[in-house]
């Protein structure tokens, strides 16, 4: 059975988050409970919520988060290995067998900055990766990101420079001296 006026993802997300005014929410509920098509959409969203933690843990992509997110992750039982780095600093790092995520806090002069690019440069000075438009954690004032332990464990020992840029301006270089994971 199809729906003539299916609930959009945006409005369904807003409803779940309590963002709709009472009248809107009530009207949406009447439709949601009566419509199997939209009920299936709601089920998809709950599946996404249920699966997102596991999916992020398996993923390879850098995940911009906030310090509060890291607290929540830690509180939910995830194992985090955390590093703080300041411009010009060199940080010794590694990854353990049980680390779900490596979380990095990049300190910088970020007043008035809401978006940065993160550039990864190898030992030969070659740009290996550029992640654009990372948000800045407004509460902590840092750029915070997580990478899954699963993604990092295969890395060899290496030295990488992480460079923060905004609007073509360099904010800082951070050197990470990574020691490869050794299985126990």
């Amino acid at each position: 059975m199809s729906c003539a006026t299916p609930l959009g993802l945006g409005v369904l997300t807003a409803y779940r988050a309590g963002e709709l005014v009472a009248e809107e929410a009530s009207g949406l509920e009447e439709h949601l409970f009566a419509c199997d098509t939209c009920g299936a959409r709601a089920a998809w969203m709950e599946g996404l919520a249920a699966g997102v933690t596991d999916a992020l843990r398996r993923g390879d992509a850098l995940l911009p988060i906030t310090a509060a997110t890291a607290d929540r992750m830690r509180g939910s039982g995830l194992t985090l290995r955390e590093y703080h780095a300041r411009p010009g600093e060199s940080v010794a790092c590694t990854v353990g067998a049980d680390d779900d995520f490596l979380v990095t806090y990049l300190h910088a002069e970020l007043a008035g900055v809401s978006s940065v690019d993160l550039v990864v440069i190898d030992e030969a000075g070659v740009e290996r990766q550029r992640t654009k438009d990372l948000p800045v954690d407004a509460t902590s004032g840092h750029v915070v990101y997580a990478i899954s332990g699963k993604h990092v464990r295969p890395f060899p020992s290496t030295v990488l420079v992480y460079r923060l840029e905004t609007a073509g301006r360099q904010l800082g270089d951070y050197t990470f001296v990574h020691t490869a994971f050794r299985a126990p």
Binding site: G8, L9, G10, L12, T13, A14, Y15, R16, A17, G18, E19, L20, A25, E29, E30, L32, F33, A34, D36, G39, A42, A43, W44, M45, E46, G47, L48, A49, A50, G51, V52, T53, D54, A55, L56, R58, G59, D60, A61, L62, L63, P64, I65, T66, A68, T69, R72, S114, S115, T131, K132, D133, L134, P135, V136, D137, A138, T139
Partner: protein, 178 residues
């Protein structure tokens, strides 16, 4: 004796099938209702249990006079339960005491958790960094648009745009009709 035992098994099996069908149809909708009105995932999960128990009891007692109005009855039960909880501050403990033998043993969301996790991982990896951040804060941290906006120095409207775009891309990537 053999026939009685067999009949018992058939009855139990039919009841379990009824429970499973009700759960499959309404659990996600009740959970969404709970998230909206209770703003707490644990309370929302308790709401699913309580509402489904009440509805099952009503169905078995023949109290639902118009079966075609089941959906409306479920929604009405959600509203009544949440209203009672907010008024009295009571929740699951009372229900457990009264109906422990009826509690659904199945995991809360076997049908809701049926997304292909490997594919979801790849699809999340394919989002832009900011989209990934907004999705994580929305679906892992249960933050609303204003809360995400404050955390990331974005306007709430911008958060909603990014969120909507990310969801559309996820659904397309997961092979779902948008």
């Amino acid at each position: 004796m053999g026939c009685h035992a067999t009949l018992q098994r058939v009855v139990v099996s039919a009841e379990q099938a009824e429970e499973a069908a009700l759960h499959a149809s309404f659990a996600a909708r009740i959970l969404a209702f709970g998230r909206c009105h209770l703003r707490d995932i644990h309370a929302a999960r308790d709401l699913v249990q309580q509402v489904l128990l009440i509805v099952l009891e009503s169905l078995r007692a023949g109290s639902l006079r118009e079966p075609e109005k089941l959906a409306s009855f479920v929604l009405g039960t959600c509203r009544n339960v949440v209203h009672d909880w907010k008024r009295t501050g009571q929740r699951r403990q009372d229900l457990l005491g009264q109906h422990a033998e009826l509690l659904l043993p199945a995991p809360l969301a076997p049908d809701m958790a049926s997304l292909d996790r490997e594919r979801l991982t790849g699809c999340l990896d394919g989002l832009a960094a900011r989209e990934r951040s907004v999705i994580t804060m929305t679906f892992y941290e249960d933050l609303d648009a204003s809360e995400v906006a404050r955390a990331l120095s974005m306007a709430p409207g911008h958060v909603r745009v990014v969120r909507h775009r990310a969801l559309a891309r996820l659904r397309e990537c997961m092979g779902e009709e948008s």
